[in-house]
């Protein structure tokens, strides 16, 4: 598949634009009038405790659920109306492990490449190159079942990058991993923002994954309670640090503070 470099008007659109999105599970409101946008080539952290609505938001962005109230645009393409065009520009790492354990690494990645219309030599080249990037060179023929949790995550990241997305969504990508694996994955993703200009939405409840230069979006029980650069969020919430700001915004009692630490 050929990709054409362009500097057309579509490139000036936000990488992700979420406007007035609400979503309910029956009578239970999961998201309530959420609006924010992400510029291309930026790292944005979606912060929220469990049940804040992060995964629901990811399901709406990836068109697993339909957006019934509000709109979501990826580089100007409406996810509901032009889901194909929108989904071609986004790579997704889901919270749940999604590798097929019976298949090899190469078979898993080839399957994903095919789902994006990439086959043959081009798919093989991309797979080999991306396995280098995620520090798993030559592991094509390993069974997915034989990989550790951290290695599976690396493969899922390679898979999400296979079709050259301009926006990468990662939902709690480091949950259940040791500190070293977490740091490695985070460093790789941040590097991709710098070197490749990929926009990243990184959902987490672990506050130590936020850096000073990041943008943050904070959800609490479906409500967007803060957004902006880290320094701005700290200032407007009257906190002393982003950890303090997140605790205040999420109304975490002292006993529950450990929840936001690894």
């Amino acid at each position: 598949m050929q990709h054409v470099r362009t500097s057309g008007p579509g490139d000036e659109a936000a990488a992700l634009d979420v406007a007035g999105v609400s979503h309910s599970y029956g009578p239970k409101r999961a998201l309530n009038d959420v609006s924010f946008s992400i510029a291309p080539a930026t790292f944005t952290v979606l912060l929220g405790l469990n049940g804040a609505g992060k995964t629901t938001l990811f399901s709406l962005i990836s068109h697993l659920y339909d957006t019934r109230r509000g709109s979501i645009r990826i580089f100007g393409h409406d996810v509901s109306r032009a889901s194909g065009e929108a989904l071609r520009r986004v790579g997704i790492v889901f919270q749940a492990r999604t590798l097929d354990l019976d298949l090899s690494v190469h078979q898993n990645l080839s399957y994903h490449a095919a789902l994006h219309g990439i086959g043959g030599r081009e798919a093989r080249q991309r797979i080999a190159a991306l396995l280098d990037i995620v520090d798993m060179p030559g592991r094509q023929h390993d069974k997915a079942r034989s990989l550790s949790g951290g290695q599976m995550r690396r493969i899922e990241i390679a898979r999400a990058l296979l079709h050259r997305p301009a926006l990468l969504l990662l939902d709690e990508a480091t949950v259940g991993l040791d500190i070293q694996s977490r740091a490695g994955i985070l460093a790789t993703i941040r590097k991709l923002v710098e070197t490749e200009g990929i926009g990243v939405l990184w959902a987490t409840h672990l506050i130590d994954e936020v850096e000073d230069g990041d943008h943050v979006v904070v959800l609490r029980q479906g409500d967007l309670v803060a957004k902006g650069k880290v320094a701005d969020v700290v200032r407007t919430s009257g906190a002393t640090s982003i950890r303090d700001a997140f605790s205040r915004l999420s109304r975490i009692e002292a006993a529950g503070a450990a929840e936001i630490s690894p």
């Binding site: 919270q95 590798l99 078979q107």
Partner: protein, 291 residues
Amino acid sequence: MSAPAMPEKVAGVMPVRFEKFGLGHYLICLKGVVLRECLRFLHQRERFISSLVRPLIWLFIFAAGFRQVLGVSIIPPYKTYVLYEVYITPGLCGMILLFSGMQSSLSMVYDREMGNMRTLLVSPFPRWFLLVSKMLAGVAVSIAQVYAFLIVAWFWGVKGPPLGYLMVLPALFLSGMMLCALGMLLSSMIKQLENFAGIMNFVIFPGYFASPALYPLWRIQEASPLLYKICLANPFTYAVELIRFAFYGQIDWLSLGVVAGCTLLFLAAAIIAYDPSRGLISRKQDTGGNA
């Protein structure tokens, strides 16, 4: 994990504009989905063996036991009296397709629970195409199982007309599509894997036994007019008859019409069910992860 720069051959992520998907891209996608299904099947040897053992038990044991009890008169497409083993062979082919179709439904529920389904559903290709690809993959695996069964049956002495093995292929394909589409529709209605037992009790067994797979319809009519009407309302009845006639180089037009119609109906319903804006999936609001 180190963070090297993306190599040139992968680089160039931004800004890019994608060309429209052409036929070649669709074929790559279809091939990928079919290949994955075949690989999964090959990796699950137990599934292959059990899919083969089930009809063989019916052929080797059930048919041998009942051949003296159940006489089969001369009915189309047969031109002479046939052994009971010969009569039930098309029905057993249908049974393989039925179980395989439901198995693909089970695997979709499993994929949804495990999260694998998400990788399929976030593909940029149209959802109808992804579901049809998934169905074709299921049918390819089903047909391979049927031919494996027919080879064993051949060595057991149950032989059809040589040309029938070729003529039956389109009938197997269409019947397999109908049953896979039904399985896909059912999978959209099942929330948890545990509920799949209901499919066994309410779809597979009634569907199989209320059909001419094991006994001709005229015998059922003699035994119970009500059951006969139920059999006539059962789409699997027509799949079995389509296969039976095709095996002898004939086309049962009624069966062909019903099976083709039901295939379109079930497929349309499955596509609607998996459409996030309209379907049952969106109402269940869970495709494999936390809400």
